[in-house]
Symmetry: C2
Subunit: 147 residues, 2 copies
């Protein structure tokens, strides 16, 4: 069983999948309390920017810098350049990643800027993404800016 | 006078200012046609992720990778890590920046990844941001994740 916060991110990914979307979920945790959660909204809301992590950050609402700097972001998939950039903008010091086999994000950039990146390699995260990419390659490519 | 696309980004910044927000605007231009425009929405929509560039990308809607790769993003202010990450995610090859005196974004990172970054140093862009930061330092600091 994944740890509880990652499990909540997985629950978000599954909600996304069940509503016809890309199965990536994310949770922002401040001092042990979930303050934001969300999932990829490309299909559901026609969004080009609401990746799972961005949706969690947006749902957390406006926060002072101090809160981000004491928070951990959980995400089912290795964060892309946009989501990694948001992590850097807000100085989130730690990211827990469900898996990075189906997509390798900007983990090296994050680490080079001092962010702790822990990759869990969770089988449920991998399975959901592997199946989605197989069934909907065109949506997935659009989501990561690939032709 | 700034070039027309930058002027449209400045118009967006001014709309943002007049509606009580951070005066940063952006325009996405594909083969000479404006396909998305927007401005910072922190104050107006309580958003943590709708910087000017992100708002322009969101308003452009879902696009195939090919369109981004033939587009130019105009922004009144040097793009932060999040917006630069979005530029990298979508492979936007060129960014025109109004000014980078009031805030230096991730121009070096963008250039290191092959993005052309042209800084105009437009006096209107500088003046709007200088005045806003002086009058609302707490909002500005929140917008860039500073305490």
């Amino acid at each position: 069983m994944p740890e509880p916060y990652l499990q909540t991110a997985i629950d978000e990914a599954r909600r996304g999948l069940e509503s016809g979307g890309v199965p990536i979920g994310s949770v922002l945790v401040h001092r042990g309390e979930i303050i934001g959660r969300g999932h990829n909204q490309r299909q559901q809301r026609g969004s080009a920017i609401l990746h799972g992590e961005m949706d969690a950050l947006e749902n957390a609402g406006r926060l002072p810098a101090e809160v981000y700097r004491e928070s951990v972001l959980y995400t089912t998939l290795s964060p892309c350049a946009m989501c990694s950039g948001a992590i850097l903008l807000y100085g989130i010091p730690r990211v827990v990643v469900g898996e990075n086999h189906t997509f390798m994000g900007e983990e090296a950039l994050l680490r080079s800027r001092g962010v702790e990146v822990d990759v869990v390699d969770d089988p449920t995260c991998r399975q959901m993404m592997t199946q989605f990419i197989t069934e909907h390659p065109e949506i997935w490519n659009e989501d990561i800016g690939e032709p």
